[in-house]
Symmetry: D2
Subunit: 346 residues, 4 copies
Amino acid sequence: MIKAIIIGASGYTGAELLRLLGQHPNAAVVAATSETYAGQAASTLYPHLTRSADQKFVTPEQAVETGADIVFTALPHGRSMTVVGDLIADKRRVIDLSGDFRLAAGEVYTEWYKMPHTLPGLLDSAVYGLPELNKRIIPEAGLVSNPGCYPTSAILALLPALEKNLVTPEGIVVDSLSGVSGAGRAADENTHFCVRSESVAAYKAGGGHQHIPEMEQYLSIAADARVTISFTPHLGPFSRGIYTTVYANLAGPKSIDQMLEVYGERYADEPFVKVLPAGVMPELKAVRGSNFCHIGLAVDARAGRLVVVSAIDNLIKGASGQAVQNMNIMFGLPETMGLEQGAIWP
Amino acid sequence: MIKAIIIGASGYTGAELLRLLGQHPNAAVVAATSETYAGQAASTLYPHLTRSADQKFVTPEQAVETGADIVFTALPHGRSMTVVGDLIADKRRVIDLSGDFRLAAGEVYTEWYKMPHTLPGLLDSAVYGLPELNKRIIPEAGLVSNPGCYPTSAILALLPALEKNLVTPEGIVVDSLSGVSGAGRAADENTHFCVRSESVAAYKAGGGHQHIPEMEQYLSIAADARVTISFTPHLGPFSRGIYTTVYANLAGPKSIDQMLEVYGERYADEPFVKVLPAGVMPELKAVRGSNFCHIGLAVDARAGRLVVVSAIDNLIKGASGQAVQNMNIMFGLPETMGLEQGAIWP
Amino acid sequence: MIKAIIIGASGYTGAELLRLLGQHPNAAVVAATSETYAGQAASTLYPHLTRSADQKFVTPEQAVETGADIVFTALPHGRSMTVVGDLIADKRRVIDLSGDFRLAAGEVYTEWYKMPHTLPGLLDSAVYGLPELNKRIIPEAGLVSNPGCYPTSAILALLPALEKNLVTPEGIVVDSLSGVSGAGRAADENTHFCVRSESVAAYKAGGGHQHIPEMEQYLSIAADARVTISFTPHLGPFSRGIYTTVYANLAGPKSIDQMLEVYGERYADEPFVKVLPAGVMPELKAVRGSNFCHIGLAVDARAGRLVVVSAIDNLIKGASGQAVQNMNIMFGLPETMGLEQGAIWP
Amino acid sequence: MIKAIIIGASGYTGAELLRLLGQHPNAAVVAATSETYAGQAASTLYPHLTRSADQKFVTPEQAVETGADIVFTALPHGRSMTVVGDLIADKRRVIDLSGDFRLAAGEVYTEWYKMPHTLPGLLDSAVYGLPELNKRIIPEAGLVSNPGCYPTSAILALLPALEKNLVTPEGIVVDSLSGVSGAGRAADENTHFCVRSESVAAYKAGGGHQHIPEMEQYLSIAADARVTISFTPHLGPFSRGIYTTVYANLAGPKSIDQMLEVYGERYADEPFVKVLPAGVMPELKAVRGSNFCHIGLAVDARAGRLVVVSAIDNLIKGASGQAVQNMNIMFGLPETMGLEQGAIWP
């Protein structure tokens, strides 16, 4: 039984870790921290948690003294750095869900996150926890940096095409629609039901979102060439999920069947990536509540473009489910353990 | 491993049985019928089903020839009767999810379902599959009649108070709000997104819903007196769940703490019923995707009434999850096996 | 042209007054106050307001010095009292949208609103602004107390039956479902999109809501007998609207046609109340964005009950639209002026 | 008073014409046809229509014999052609809301709509009814072809930039999210509440949507160069509205302020187009129920792209409201008459 600590368990990703680990056959949460709710039962804050996951939040200090095999840090970016350094120094294995260890260079972090990186020395050893990319090196990792939700959807959509140079590295457009849970648990005007219901809004348009360098870094590696993207995130009137539509210029003519074959081969051994047949596009609801990524493809011969559409649950494959998947890989368990649950539909 | 057949697997309750049994550690679906979709993969119709549940629909004829330990019939009322008779004659154990075997008398069925009952002889031996009521007799049952969604929510809300005569049998009001999935998979004007979104509508108001005699039958047994209720179902702008508010006249003054104690004791050993503390009312979303029923209580001393609020997922505790719970009990498995999944929240 | 001031214009009812008066052919807003947003354009806060309604918020002090024919006070209860006294002393005509002047006695206010009433002397002269009840005395009123949203839906549902003694004053149940805008513009956990979407929750169950004495006061007048009700409000996953289902014991047998005739006659001259034919229940969306109240009736002969269902837009007929209707009546304009807009559907 | 006939009044755009013309001070509907509902009151089908719009559907034959100043044809594409020819031959003025007369060449129609065009001779004289483009020639038009919903949102987003050659004609991406009402009133699996709620789905991806040639035709005119676009439509979980995000390559460096100035000047005299200030993106809900188009701009200097976001109500500015706007222009009325209504918010 893997003993796990969750640092920052009162946010949405923390709650999802509590739920998923509470159902995991080989893992148990031994401590879950919340400065605000320390001493209260998790199920008071989150009535959906069943009895098995019903434990009390503790302070970070109490957690530090608890023995554990793995520590999940689910803090906002900037705050995560302040915790992960000590944990690593303490020889803990860590899966960090923030954006603090995803970029290769501290200066890039500073540019996009608008704050200095205080632990640039850890960036080299951190392993980017996208199993479909790094499954071979995750087992040995001391610090796994769990991917962002938007990057997970965009990178999985583009990997096969870029690795095979079927599309050019220039001119890629990534257009994403996220559920409101992506904005976090904090209640403000922008997450108010009356504002978000029956509405849609773009934000950080024009290249301002901090997930852009993360996408470009891994897409560039896949393409073996510098990739610059246009990315626009939107908030849609639903709680969960990310629906991403990617446009890329074809390097040369390709049929949809050829494309599907490339994608099918690339993901043949990936249990959580499902490439849909020609003519079928992902339905976001079909991945909600699951760790799956559904991918649909179309070739626009007229415009010379490949269109790839991907759908994930932002809190699962886009955050906590992927973190558990990484934990499974780190500890030599079947990758899918505790994550077999299909989507709740309808 | 329990081998299960699903008759009528292309509707919402059938799909939910496919999903739940696909995740059950001790059960496997050996045949799932659909006249319309026979020969097609279930995951084509339902893309949320993961690989493990990915099987082809067969015809009813093919299913009849398949050996199995249990048959789930998930057909519309009226059609179920035509199938269950043969299955029972064939010595199959059956869990029927329709309304065909829930009422004690064929005449009452005819009155409310507006059609003759063709198998009244089976009504006596059918066991009403509400585990919280009949857990002791379900293990031996040949035919379990799975409760309706509205009755599950209303009976669980009222059982403790009626059994202890804390409320009078007269004057009970049951007001329920159902998700649109309760209206089934059929697309019509009433289930169109544009009609149902941001809307609410009562239907069969004034005592016309066929679940009324089912509620009254079991509430009367609990009260040991004839119970007549007013029941109004409504459709709300959400996919899943039933939220029921019950009003009953207090037989005598009782404090909220006394009521909570009675309810707490009554459901102490029921793994799927959670009585909330004083002042807390159920949040429907906290049971969505789970087999739980959450119950909140309030005493209105001014009006002399007990108010009980219950929340379930109509497709799980209100249908397929409860059916799996019944299967577990019939086969001597832990009641919660395959059903531990907590609600998806948010 | 009627010159109007809105005190407290940055909340939802204030915004709705801005929108409705901005479209009114015979009225103009000369000042709209907001302590928080003073100096900012209303359309910055509310981008839906068109150019015609595009004005700057001012401070209360600035508003007080502005000449006007009518003042709308759209402040929270408790705060309204502190403003209305001075306005009345200043010989202003006022339509107050809070709960501060709806109850006949200061003690009852104190009991339900949990605070002392500082202006009990004004309660006698305040006219309850439900046009369907008080159309004759509203024209002369100096202070119109605009009804609460829940009471509007419940009183309109019950008036005809109680006035004709077709139902008994005892045993009435009022069950209401409100859109989230009823909880106001303040962002908190309870109004977060991720909590409210696909969910339902009862609140203040067991007779705790401050609208109960308001309903009972006017229902008792209609019945000419003391009416005590059970009332449970719920929040549903939609922005606007109140859907109320009322249960009342029949005083004697009545057919649905007899009931419809009574209701039809009672509301024959009311332009905003529409009694639906037998068998048709209100669809909430059909009143959204309009000042209409739709009423559906059913007779439950078995249970001896009348079931009445009413639907309104909580921000229009339940608040700001009704206030404009009252203004029209006060100033001798056609009651429907500026309010003819039908519901937005779908 | 303009007398109007609506051919095909039982669909969503027809209903919206009934609502808008019912509130128009200078127009009256003298006949509204529906083959299915002929003889029934419009308000039976559409309970949101208020008394003023309460009229009976008639057959097309009855409509043809009715005298009128303008005929709105709101039929599916392909069927519209069969009606408009006779109307024009009969010297009627027509506003056609289908796609039948929007393209310049019959062959292009045949290619995209997959059916022959039977009235190619009318294509030349049909005036494309986008007032922001053709306001000067609409007054004299005999046949106005009302723009499609997606093209309205995309063309308004790109016009100023293309007319001034600020972006290149190559490489434009148009990504749109539509409310479910865009799929029409027909109930099928794809419009079922349980499928669409909390979901998103792309359709006709890869350049298959019939609105593409319409967009390219008018964008090419604006650019004075051949424009080829990539367009992906999506269905989102809301009833009304289109939210379009456009990506175009900058022809040369431009600041956001320079862009805003160009857009501001271009639309200075357009009453229904509102260009938002720097840093503000449209909120879809802020145009719902109104004839407005809100436009937000961002310059992505890194990627060398202009990002334009536009929001409209698909049934109003994207269909029936724009048709009424065209009617106003054709008859010399103020362009905004009957269309001043602001969005319903929240």
